[in-house]
């Protein structure tokens, strides 16, 4: 158990030491928040959907959770490149503990990052209906971060070079983001898009955040929780399996 803790702590230390990265990864969600929030705002309002800033803020928080957690999982690739991975793999500790420590560490940093983005959204004018729901939002954020941190670990275990990293960015991370309903409402979508959004786990995360923050959502909050929880369990198992198969 102490192995899980020390590897969790390592992820956290590395995150807190990379101040430049924290600021850099704040900038992208904020770009979406401000450019889309204020750029699409008037059109959104005219179509009778209310404030776009209100709508997109949970999506932007979801985005930062997705990016931070998946990249921390892929950090495995860096550990492989710089050799540290071997140090953990020859240690007299079950690989499952190593995987769990890393994955939870990655998820924790993502939640911290997501919280930072949420604070900036609040400063920018985002007004949640009910602040008392914040603890539930936090649980949702932890679930979202766990799902994608585990996915990142699975991907990081499978890929071996930096080129694959670009592929993952283009074919995994960006589609998950754009198909997640972060940027547009789920109602009245064309059939194909509707199906794609429902396969994307982030959809339920962001829908849940909207339920908590805005009181309006496409699915019931309990559905969002149930699906996210199930996916988190499946991805954790998948990540653990992929990690157990790493060859040095």
């Amino acid at each position: 158990m102490t192995a899980i803790y020390i590897l969790w702590l390592r992820e956290l230390k590395k995150y807190l030491r990379s101040r430049a990265r924290i600021f850099a990864s704040l900038s992208q969600p904020l770009l979406y928040l401000f450019v889309l929030g204020f750029g699409l705002g008037p059109v959104f309002q005219r179509s009778g959907q209310g404030s776009y800033l209100q709508f997109v803020a949970p999506g932007v928080v979801g985005m930062s959770l997705l990016f931070t957690s998946i990249f921390s999982g892929i950090g495995l690739l860096w550990d492989r490149q710089f050799g540290f991975l071997k140090e953990t793999l020859v240690a007299p500790v079950p690989r499952l503990h190593i995987m769990i420590g890393r994955t939870l560490g990655g998820a924790t940093t993502a939640v911290v990052q997501g919280t930072l983005v949420l604070i900036v959204c609040l400063i920018a004018g985002f007004r949640p209906q009910n602040m008392a729901m914040l603890p539930i939002a936090l649980v949702l954020m932890i679930l979202i971060a766990t799902v994608f941190s585990a996915l990142g670990t699975a991907l990081g275990s499978a890929i071996k070079d930096m080129q694959a990293f670009q592929l993952i960015m283009n074919y995994v991370v960006m589609p998950i983001y754009f198909l997640s309903s972060a940027l547009f409402p789920l109602a009245n979508l064309p059939k194909g898009l509707a199906i794609a959004t429902r396969i994307d786990p982030l959809t339920y995360g962001i829908d849940g955040l909207r339920a908590v923050f805005l009181g309006t959502s496409h699915f019931a909050l309990s559905t969002d929780f149930a699906i996210l929880g199930t996916v988190a369990a499946i991805f954790l198992a998948f990540g653990a399996w992929a990690f157990s198969r790493i060859q040095v």
Binding site: T2, A3, Y5, R10, S18, F82, L85, V90
Partner: protein, 262 residues
């Protein structure tokens, strides 16, 4: 301490290790030499539970690594061919992490870290980030880490690669000192024959996966009628250059080296 009997490792149709038998006694410093691609690293990977043998048997301190990998892992320390430290952590944090992974009790931990860091002349830099360390300092820190959990056997896979003569000299002095004071068995590979000649009690030379000679440095010289270990080595393994085909792992290694600027 280390018993290898008729060890074989095949990768598809390629036989990387072909019937290797070696015995290393407790407290011995044993050098395992051979040209590139001879099978040194593959052997070490099998001894250290990272690779399963195709056939043959191994025992480390009487335990079979294929049966009880966790037990074997507790008993050895290893310095890999490539650095395996976390550059974003301090020297002390790297060691602390290792101590936790190897279940070193808390009350022993700090004292052991201090003793070893002082011995390897790194104590003043214990709170510096490892990425700020020179190549020689990193190597020393890795040896400290390998010794931290008081292993019975220490594997050193080309630990002096890329170091200047001063650092190499200092590193071996420390290793010999620890071998004498703690009785830790050392199993090393190197391409520098003078190092093997100086530190190793016994030497085995491997080529094309087979052991071609085994004995003390003097025995190898007598056997080949040469006056230096280098000459003996060349006589035994020939003078042809071995070009390894770079696999994905090697390519990454090269890239990592480039990034680290060495």
């Amino acid at each position: 301490m280390l018993h290898i009997d008729n060890l074989v490792k095949k990768f598809g149709s390629v036989t990387a290790v072909d019937g290797v038998s070696i015995d290393v006694s407790a407290g011995e410093i044993f050098a395992f030499l051979g040209p590139n691609g001879a099978g040194k690293t593959t052997t070490i990977q099998m001894l250290t539970t990272l690779l399963a043998p195709t056939s043959g048997s191994i025992t480390v301190d009487g335990i079979d690594p294929t049966v009880k990998p966790m037990e074997v892992r507790k008993r050895f320390g290893i310095v890999f061919q490539d650095p395996s430290l976390d550059g974003d952590l301090t020297a002390y944090e790297n060691l602390e992490l290792h101590a936790v992974l190897y279940h070193v009790p808390k009350h022993v931990r700090n004292e052991r870290i201090e003793t070893l860091l002082k011995l390897f002349e790194l104590w003043e830099r214990k709170d510096s980030l490892v990425k700020e360390f020179s190549g020689g300092m990193k190597r020393r820190l890795e040896i400290v880490r390998g010794l931290l959990h008081t292993p019975k056997i220490l594997f050193l896979d080309e630990p002096t690669l890329g170091l200047d003569p001063q650092s190499r000299n200092q590193l071996w002095t420390h290793v010999k000192q620890l071998n004498a004071s703690e009785g830790v068995t050392v199993f090393l590979t190197t391409h520098y024959m003078d190092e093997a000649d100086r530190v190793a009690h016994r030497i085995a030379i491997i080529d094309h996966g087979k052991i071609v000679a085994q004995g003390t440095s003097q025995e190898l010289k007598t056997q080949t009628e040469t006056d230096s270990l280098e000459a003996a080595f060349l006589k035994l393994t020939g003078t042809t250059i071995r070009d390894e085909r770079a696999g994905a792992a090697d390519q990454m290694r090269q890239m990592a080296r480039m990034w680290r600027g060495r």
